[in-house]
Amino acid sequence: MKQIKSVLLGCWLMLLAIHSAAARGPAIADGAREFVAQATIHGKVVDGSEQPLAGATVSVKGSETRVSTDEQGNFAIAIPTDGTTLVISFLGFVTQEYPVRSDPGEEIIVSMQPEEANELDEIVVVGYGSQRKRDITGAVSSVDAKSIQEVPVTQASQALQGRAAGVLVTNTSNKPGGGATVRIRGNRSFSAGNDPLYVIDGIPITGGLQDIPPQDIASMEVLKDASATAIYGSRGANGVVIISTNRGNTGKTVVSYDTWFGFSNAYKQIDMMDGARFAEFKRESRRATGDYDDGDPNADANTPGLFSPVELASIAAGISTNYQDLMLETGNSMNHSLGVRGGSEKTRFNLSFNYMNDQGIIAVQDFNRYAMRVNLDHDISDRIRIGASILGNYSIRNGQSLNPYDDTLLENPLGVPYDDNGELIFLPTPDGLRSNPLAELVPGALLNRNKRLRLFSSLYGEVELAEGLSYRLNFGPDLVQNRVGNFQGKFTNARLGGSSAAQGNEDLVFNYTLENIVKYNKVFDEVHALELTGLFGIQHRQYEATNISVRGIPVEEMQYYNFGAAEEILGTGSDFERWDILSYMGRANYVFDDRYLVTLTARIDGSSRFGRNHRYGFFPSVALGWNISNESFMEGNGVFDLLKLRATYGETGNTGIDPYGTQGLLRRTTYAFDETGAFGFRPNQLRNDNLKWETTRQFNFGLDFAVLGGRISGAAEYYQQKTRDLLMQRQLPFTSGYGSVMENVGATQNTGFEFSISTENIRPQREGGFSWSTDLNLATNNEKILELYGGSQDDVGNRWFIGEPIQVYYDFEKIGIWQTHEADAAESYGRVPGEIKIKDQNQDGVINDLDRVILGNNRPSLTGGLTNRFGFRGFDLSVFLYFNHGNMIYSRFHEVHNTLFGRYNNLDVDYWTPNNPTNAYPRPNQNQEKPVYNTSMAYFDGSFLKIRNVNLGYNFPKSWAAKIKAESLRVYVSAQQPLIISSYVNRHQGIDPEGIDFNADSEQLPVDTPPQRTWLFGLNVKF
């Protein structure tokens, strides 16, 4: 806290300095012309349909005199006698100049024309400021509110999916409230993390976006190249996502209410064996070991350990239980958002309330979020402005770490889940490990509840010190509290009739960011536009946690609310972590004659996480732009509205290692002498004072274009980035007592093309006419390792290979099944017919590690999104497609639910028998828990095309809306993920090839709550 105090003191001193500067400020403004008011003009401001516009600004050109229109659009303004020009402005309308004489005699009526959306003049938020789109030199993709709202998602990160070229968003969980991983231009780091930096209302946050309701977001900008991200220095290497939330504006107060309600169902069930298939499969698993006598008519009953009485009864009666049917239900979700936006001349506000409830397709999984936002901006004077955006969020997530679905797949279909009275049978078969999966759904039996509270604020004060010179103070405190309670009752698979158990984790995180920003803006001689930005800031994070795990809760209803009553404490712990970053940054933007653009940035960051010898890092960048369309030779070309070339180079860093990574540390150990604990500490981490930042150097070449009056616009990018000094656990021979040490070794490279285009295919001929527009984005990225441990030796242990992406699938290659006629060849490899045949890559007659090859990787070679929007007479339709091409996936249920063991239910595969000489899957065998080389059965092409969303809406005519006193009224119906096209789904019993978590160690498609198809019905109304 001492540091905060000193820094705050510093800031006060700075403010003091500013205040004294501001006090001198008016001298500059004294030059404004003064006049004597002599006449008053009365008038009214209306829109195209003669509706009054309240809150429009009317000012006298060249003076400070300004007024606002009232509720009826009326105004009265004083003008000098010699006549003047009024300037009338209103957000969303073209600003108008209206010449008036001093004695107009009657009321004037000003009719405002709505603003034609001109993309090129759009303001795009960039780091520490904003720019006109036409002036941007870096590679920035923006996703506007329309695209965000179009697909009703529950997580902000999902709204990015398929919307920006080079941004790969993968849903990693199908559970309510589940998240997504975001990758910008591939992976570059082995261990320092590859998640982008998120900046919300100017404050860089730590952790994901799950607390931000998507409805609050006005725009998301993705900064991809080094010039754009270098100002975030040590945190910018993975790209930056800047999120701006809705702010208030002057004018009529608008109340909006948005809601949707939806149903979801499993997209598809996993194709497991039914009772009869399973019985035959079990017999085959015994035949394979010679334990099933087909000559015996009663072999089913006489083979010991084959079928239990309940299984025999089910076989006789033809009973088969489909546990998936019994577990999966129709999920439902709803969202209510209420927003109030408005403001006066001096104060603008936006209040929003959001409630979201998502009840998943499995009873124990749901998500509730309550969020409240207050965004305020207030002008203390012409030169001093303050503001705040404050988000309060409380969410409850149930069942995030529970996976009862997995149990349904393994459950014996010959078991009977309910007894004659309809009561659950806990063990439907004698198999002691397989409890009834439906027991997990009994209310109170199994709990995993995460209650999360977050108070995230971004506060600022801004002073115009002199014309063009401003100072801004940003302060962003962020408090997060998490409480996770877990409980497993006696009759759950985790406890199998043993005593109940409970665990609790609580953590408290306090982050803050404090930034002092000075800006200077000036246009010299009308052609030299200069903008300078300087920053000094600190970022701080402190994390504290406690946890406990107990067994033997005496009364199940206590759940996790009385750990003290438990029979036994299995473990307790607490944790603390702190890091700080100290930064200095400077940036210069220079534009010459709207034709030549230069951006220079430099940032110095100091991080507590690094060793004494390399605490500070320097991250420079340079960007050049050439606006060809503004050259004189392009004048009147009639084709290009915009043609701009960009080239950038920069360095960014990655500080994402855990704190204390440079320290020599000990590890707690456990032993006992008799019954007395004998805890100890042993060496666990070698000291390394030389650790430093990973540095990414990136070149980016871009081209922006707009033709045919902006009907076709887009951008193309090529980039190459090399990341050096990769923070990596350098593997040590264990004879030293250490398995690894964190070092800066290795290099990776990402290169790629990105292309995005927006077209207005059909412009409406008249109001309500047919319109059609398309947005398409495509991206390629080639990720490879250049160097490991300073050389070009592959690290097979980590599956890191020079020239390959960071994660590859390196395994044996299955080429079929050994057939009966190949028995001799099979034997030479130690196999028998019916087992998996592996390609002997080096043909040495032995299958060993040398026969493993790189089978593929899960990085798509091409990704993209295609949105088509249609409009006609108040109807709007959008169809959003999302695709990945060229990646391989590892499908976990093809491995773990395909053990062919003859004990658990199995994927309904075409397995080998002497009479079925297939090459697909090996023969079941009761004596092997899984087939030899079983992982080779789980690799598939992961390419897919998804219809992510189809949204059909209808805007009621204004006159209809007016009947409920509304300004606008829209209803819509939306289908989410109605179709997945993929060979994995269509040919290989898969459900959804998307879902590999790039952050997990093993990049596998998990077996968990299945993906869904969702129908939503929504309503947007504005008053």
């Binding site: 350990g305 043993g498 002498f673 060496p683 590690d849």
Partner: protein
């Protein structure tokens, strides 16, 4: 001026801000404090749990021998089968290696820092160093038996290094012997902390070490004589004695700490001290799982705490059942080593032996007589009879030594039994073997007969007692290596010694070929050593040139 002040304030506070604040962890200087030094010694013990009484340790010592082969389940059957899948990537081999070297570095840290730790009494300092050296010796002994020549390091690692090399077996044994001689000299005879290294434990270990070295390329002429002398010293000098009843040795609870136990790996009933972190400290005594047959799917049975978790990893070979334990008239150890009855836990009506049978709770549900019954007798039984002819990889006699019915839950892995690593019966057998090779067969046979005599059945009267004991006796003339190996097999079945015994006596290959139905066809001469973990070779500067693989593995 103000700006300058501002900068000064900010600068001074900020440079401090970037110093890390360590709270939840401990910096490594702690080990040099008196408390930290004691912590380091205790930490050195925790490595013991990583290779005793768990699947890793048992797979590498019980499996692939003449006494045990594989049951139906498990992922490490290739260790038993000696197929090409048993390669340098095998995780159990790698984990054993890694854990032992972590333990060795911990011992080294304690030993190196001891002289500079202030505030320790000289006596405590010496005892603690002796404990660390005892543990280091035990770890190196485990390594040299499994891997042959290994890397020798007797200094704490303080800097990143990728240098490693394989020292000759003789050098490794020299370090082990020196450490143990120091330990014998410095350690107390007993310790107030039960489970700490004590003098007799060091002597027992050195006896075992010398007996092993005697058959290695590093053999010294005096090895057998010294091993015998050390074993005798343990037998005579410290008040240990064989219990009268073999079964009592493995009695759970207070019975674990008995007069026959020289030194045991410690496990507790408290989860917090029993190894909550499976990666670092093991998962309690988990041996209760591996020797059990699949009783829980049989008529009248379900999985329960009393009978345990049937993981069916290790199945006794026919040799074990029919040869080692052939004598069931005089020798109690078949009866006291194997479970022959399972009592009903799931009442109901079942088809058993071709007829409908109704069980009540606690009725005999399953019986393994251990021999073939007359068909009529079998048919008369109202419970399932599993005769030797019915044995499969799922159904076989279950070793009872490690069963742990005192676990609180059916699926609770972390058992609480101490693992009896050094017990007096083994000392007797070490003595027998050492004296036999040292030429004192009379002494050898005396020690052997002590163990055998204890295992004899009690008769109905003294005369019968004497007869049974007499029947168990062997004479000096009958003494042979086979006899000793068979005795060790019977007495120490499943106690993580068999693979070492066979390797030590150069009988692994022939005995596995003769008695292990799964490994017999595949085992080769080179299988007397385990593969060096590939990681070790890959990570060592110079690769396989600098750190060569054991022959036969690739």
């Amino acid at each position: 001026m103000i700006s300058a002040l501002f900068l000064a304030v900010v600068w001074s506070s900020c440079s401090r801000m970037l110093d890390e604040e360590i709270r939840s962890q401990v910096g490594d200087t702690h080990l040099s404090t008196p408390e930290g030094f004691e912590d380091g010694v205790r930490a050195a013990y925790s490595t013991l749990r990583t290779f005793h009484a768990n699947e890793l340790g048992m797979t590498l010592t019980v499996f692939g021998t003449d006494t045990y082969t594989m049951g139906s389940d498990g992922s490490y059957k290739f260790v038993n089968e000696y197929t090409s899948q048993f390669d340098p990537r095998t995780t159990f081999v790698r984990d054993l290696w890694n854990n032992l070297y972590i333990g060795i570095n911990t011992c080294n840290a304690v030993i190196d820092r001891a002289p500079t730790v202030e505030g320790l009494s000289e006596e405590i300092r010496n005892v603690r160093v002796a404990e660390a050296r005892f543990l280091r010796a035990y770890y190196y002994f485990t390594l040299v038996q499994q891997f042959g020549p290994v890397h020798l390091s007797v200094k704490e690692t303080t800097e990143v290094t990728t240098e490693a090399s394989r020292s000759p077996v003789s050098e490794v044994y020299a370090v082990i012997e020196e450490d143990l001689r120091f330990a014998i000299e410095q350690l107390p005879e007993t310790s107030p902390d039960y489970g700490r290294a004590i003098k007799p434990a060091a002597a027992h270990l050195l006896a075992r070490v010398l007996l092993t070295r005697a058959t290695s390329e590093a053999a010294e002429d005096s090895d057998y004589a010294e091993a015998g002398a050390l074993a005798e010293q343990v037998i005579n000098d410290y008040g240990f004695q064989l219990l009268d009843d073999f079964a009592k040795v493995f009695e759970q609870g207070s019975g674990e700490r008995n007069a026959e136990v020289i030194w045991a790996i410690q496990y507790t009933k408290n989860a917090i001290t029993n190894g909550a972190n499976s990666e670092a400290d093991g998962t309690g005594n988990a041996a209760h799982r591996y020797f059990l047959m699949e009783y829980d799917v049989l008529p009248g049975m379900n999985r329960n705490v009393r009978d345990g978790q049937p993981w069916k990893r290790f199945m006794p070979t026919t040799y074990t059942l029919e040869t080692l334990f052939a004598d069931r008239v005089n020798d109690t150890r078949y009866r006291k080593s194997f479970k022959d009855v399972f009592l009903c836990t799931r009442p109901g009506t079942y088809t058993v032996n071709g007829k409908e049978v109704t069980y009540a709770e606690g009725d005999t549900a399953v019986w393994l007589p251990g021999y073939q019954l007359d068909a009529a007798v079998k048919a008369s039984k109202n419970f399932l009879v599993i005769e030797p002819a019915d044995y499969t990889q799922k159904l076989y006699p279950t070793l009872t030594k490690f069963l742990d019915p005192e676990r609180p839950d059916m699926n609770y892995e972390a058992g609480s039994r101490d693992f009896l690593a050094f017990r007096l019966a083994e000392t007797y057998l070490i003595a027998a073997e050492a004296f036999m090779y040292a030429g004192d067969e009379a002494k050898a046979v005396t020690y052997l007969n002590e163990v055998r005599g204890r295992a004899a059945y009690d008769g109905l009267d003294e005369a019968e007692d004497a007869n049974r004991r007499a029947a168990m006796m062997v004479t000096a003339g009958e003494l042979s290596l086979d006899l000793i190996l068979e005795e060790r097999g019977r007495e120490l079945l499943g106690e993580q010694l068999r693979w070492y015994d066979l390797v030590r006596t150069h009988t692994l290959v022939e005995r596995v070929r003769a008695h292990n139905p799964d490994g017999g066809d595949n085992i080769q001469d080179y299988h007397v050593l385990r593969p060096i973990p590939q990681d070790q070779i890959d990570r060592t500067a110079g690769g396989s040139e600098a750190f060569p693989q054991n022959p036969g593995y690739n």
